[in-house]
Symmetry: C2
Subunit: 302 residues, 2 copies
């Protein structure tokens, strides 16, 4: 069983959430909940960051780890066009962790939390073999306006922000600007709000597991297929890294073809890479050939 | 650095949450957030459940693990008098986990979720060496009515629900009713709501790390000390297990001395064990002698 299969199985088992106020359950970047009497919808996401998988003790500083733990959750809020409101952190510490490392970790996390307006309001602590962080981030959007994966329509233009493959390049190189990009991803919160409130985007998600897999997911959720050309490639990265490399945390989004998206938002390039089409849900073609979803699947072994 | 020291350090570092709507941050069973325009306060808690620490593969069935992962979070909602609303689950699976185990795990978790009204609306998946679950539970209370640790006043009576030490006994015995109690703790949600809405409790928390440590925490939060007699002991357990054993998930609460608490709530005994007093904040005396906080500290090695 792989990750999409398990998630799909869970979705079917849980069914449409019958609980009052739950607008959207399992399967998107965030769940959506509508508290009684408010004009805002609340977004919730959780993201794990694991030693050995997402970071290594010798190469990733404590502050980088704290930053990245939160950045992953903020990126999900950005993908739905949300404003970050607060976060909670569950932290399991390994035997090698000392007070100095914890200091650095919280410095990285709280620095980003302050910038993003996501106060740390709680969490849990435990001991384990390897460090594991699980961040919960809550955000808000005006009622009914969250950008979802399932909102794309046939004929919509497909865009990405920035250039892709930088994180994969950085991980391979272990130094330079790409390395910094890998260690300190920037959640695109302002861009997400712009896409929701100004541009009229129809769907969005963040690129955490690679364009090929993430676009496949957006297409599947929207019941459409996609035709794209090669995306913008991060300087020095390969096309393979740009297509299948994870952790870029750029935004992938769609907008009606008549919408004129600007070339850039606050210095960040916005590039049209293709078009949504009717056809086999989830299928992606690049330059006329099938593009297999080769991005990172956390459960491929099951 | 131990767990209370780290939490206190974090509280000072984060400061009073300046974010709009945050009523209570780090340090209680749940954080409290007040969305704009609502009459309800929202409660949030996260709780980890680790293979090797909270459960073992040979002795704990998959459905028990799923149940307990959620029960721990629900117990925090119960402690504040809340109604459970939804949950999210981050699950890191070990190499030995197969589809059958996952099926059982979700059966245990979703069964309890349905009973408690806490729909599973999202989460995250990853691979690791040992299974780790992190549950997020959200609940609600009428605005301003959540039971907190810091609400006890000098002269208040101190109570516990049920009999203590059953979980520690069950863990030691590995069979019988106490073992079931250890594997399938019952979050006291109905009792928590009764304490908040009917009894007029002044403070409450759940007993997850042992009475001696948890009462110390309630006293410290309220700026008071406590004088108690021996608590009710689970049949077959020792007084040591009742005082210092973890994971009973009963409720510890205080109420004004004039309040007449019933002897039982829905068949669950409520026993007065002592009185809150002015004096050294956090100090606990049992039968005139200091009771050291020997419960479980997740970070004592740091």
């Amino acid at each position: 069983m792989n990750e999409p299969e398990l998630i799909e199985k869970l979705r079917r088992r849980v069914g449409l959430p019958r609980a009052a106020g739950v607008v959207l359950g399992i399967g998107d970047d965030c769940a959506i909940v509508r508290p009684r009497g408010t004009r805002e919808d609340w977004l919730y996401t959780t993201d794990m960051l694991l030693e050995g998988t997402h970071f290594l003790r010798p190469t990733h500083g404590a502050a980088d780890v704290g930053w990245k733990a939160l950045a992953r959750g903020l990126s999900d809020i950005a993908a739905m066009g949300g404003e970050a409101r607060f976060c909670l952190l569950s932290l399991a510490v390994a035997p090698w962790v000392d007070g100095r490392w914890l200091d650095g970790f919280y410095r990285g996390l709280l620095g980003l939390a302050e910038r993003a307006g996501a106060a740390l309001i709680g969490g849990d602590l435990a001991r384990t073999e390897r460090v594991l962080c699980d961040i919960v981030v809550a955000g808000t959007v005006p009622r009914g306006t969250a950008l979802r994966r399932d909102g794309a329509r046939a004929g919509d233009a497909i865009y990405v922000s920035g250039a892709l493959g930088g994180s994969a390049l950085g991980l391979a190189a272990g130094r330079g600007r790409a390395w910094l990009r890998h260690k300190r991803p920037e959640p695109r919160l302002a861009l997400g709000r712009f896409l929701r409130a100004r541009l009229g985007a129809t769907a969005a998600m963040d690129l955490s597991d690679g364009l090929s897999l993430d676009l496949h997911r957006l297409c599947a959720a929207s019941g459409l297929r996609a035709e794209i050309a090669a995306p913008p490639v991060y300087r020095g990265a390969t096309l393979e890294q740009a297509l299948h490399g994870g952790e870029d945390y750029e935004l992938l989004f769609t907008a009606p073809a008549r919408v004129r998206a600007p070339d850039a938002f606050e210095g960040l390039a916005l590039t049209r890479i293709g078009t949504m089409r009717k056809g086999t849900a989830g299928a992606v073609e690049m330059d006329g050939a099938p593009l297999p979803p080769l991005g990172y699947d956390h459960l491929r072994h099951l």
